[in-house]
């Protein structure tokens, strides 16, 4: 197999900031109270979507 072509020389951009660890861990997002509230939020959204599907059954728009 032929050698892969050499990568052209590239100059990396200067990245802002510093390397960092996991943000979720740092912000303690695994806290059960936060997780519970978040899941409740998503459940309320899903409930509103499901209710809309039921509400609109048989509606005729004119």
């Amino acid at each position: 197999m032929a050698d892969a072509p050499a990568r052209p020389a590239r100059q990396r951009i200067v990245e802002p900031g510093e390397p960092a660890g996991d943000l979720a861990t740092r912000l303690h997002l695994d806290d059960p109270a936060l997780q519970r509230r978040y899941r409740a939020d998503l459940d309320r959204v899903r409930d509103a979507e499901l209710r809309a599907e039921i509400d609109t059954e048989g509606v005729r728009l004119h």
Binding site: G17, A20, A24, L27, L29, Y38, V45, E49, T56, G58
Partner: protein, 500 residues
Amino acid sequence: MTWPFLAWSPDDSAGAVYDVTVPGTWDELVEFYAGGAGSRPLERIVEIARGHGVRSVVVEQRYLDPDWRSEHGAFHGRLFRRHPSVCHRWHLFTDDVPADLSELRPEAYRGYVVLRPLPSTPVGRTMIAPPAGLEGAIRCEATERVSLFGTPLWITAMPFLSQDAEYLRCAHATLWMVLRHAHLAHGLPRRLTAEVHDAALGGVIVGRQVPSEGLSVQQMLSGATRLGLSPGLMHLPATPEEDAAADAVAEPADVVPGGRADPQAGRLSLRAVLCRYVNSQLPPLVISSSHAWVVVAYRRGPGDDRSVTLWRHDDARGPYLEVDDPFAEPEEAHRPWQTAILPLLPAIYVTAERAEAAGRLWFAGYLRGAEDDEPVARAAAAGELTFRTFVVRSDEYLEGLWARGVDPALADLYRLAALPEHLWVVEAVDRAARREGRPDVVGEALVDATASTHHEPLQEGLVALHGGRLAHRIGPDHGTRRELLLTDPGHYRTGRPGRR
């Protein structure tokens, strides 16, 4: 009645100019085009034009309107009684236009109205500048270039169209308005009225589809999907009590050191849901049990930022109509505000409500470790922290950073990030600053609009977070994380698309 061909086109002149400062001229125009039957949309348009101080109406007398031509080919041209295939188009100017049309000043232009040869339902495609009452409001709108007798003109507005009660009903008209806006604002293909009609055909419904006896919601959703949107559906509270409960906290929020409560649960009140999509330049459709309309603007009360006034385009009543109270509508057709159809673009998988829930979670975590003097912590401690959510193209978002007063180091963190095409932005807002009309953003969570909503807890979708002193960015492929410490975090302006 139908228009006799030669009466509709009285001569071969390409245009005519009406001096509407002459008493009775507006009334005569309305009488002529509405065929004596009256037209609420046309009367509303004239009311707005009068409010703008329009002095001249230039009428293109043989305007070839692609929408009307499409309807004409599909329906009106197939009737035994004949309808002309050409329209008229009014152009509204706030100055005196000379009869030779030698000077058409773009700065005096307030928009156009296509008039169909359909007495009682004459209003076709319309772009009219919003009335003065909407100054300072958050509006869905787009800019269109118009060419009139060799002069380029520009109009920024939310497209409007009335139904004709036979081929197009309210559901078609509202869908067309949203699609026309999406064409001008988001680059979706142009969709003509007949395409909208055809896309919404099918399904099992009682009654005829042509002439149309109205659309079911399923037909609307199907039509919207076929024409390039990916609509969502959301229940709206029907009473003030249900509305208040929709904003209530599901369980008591914890209070962390410093007296800062966790952000409240996601708000699902009528105004909270609708404002997120107006913020995003995705005009939400609202339906009652028999009618549909488009919410096109909102404005917070100057003294009470929790009070929100809404405006709508109602195809049977006209453009830019202020809503006094969604829970006390005077007309039965508007009762109740039952469901919102959310005209999301196909590349936006995450809905506003889910994006906001994720953003609130990240800020809840951030606030637990924030220092007391950070703006987001101060706003939370004062009970003044709220959230503003919108979706935006990431290139537009980046290009707007400099004008918003974002810290240059933070702007660099965002600017040199690999970003998806669209971002959900959940801004942490200092309500006190908002009331005073000052820059009010104290932090923001940027969420990938194509993120999976099944990942826990949308963590894969967080692209960047600015809480205050700390900003964080996450790379998409290698998960590279970079952190930035800002020495003096302050307030900056919103990145909401459209007028700021």
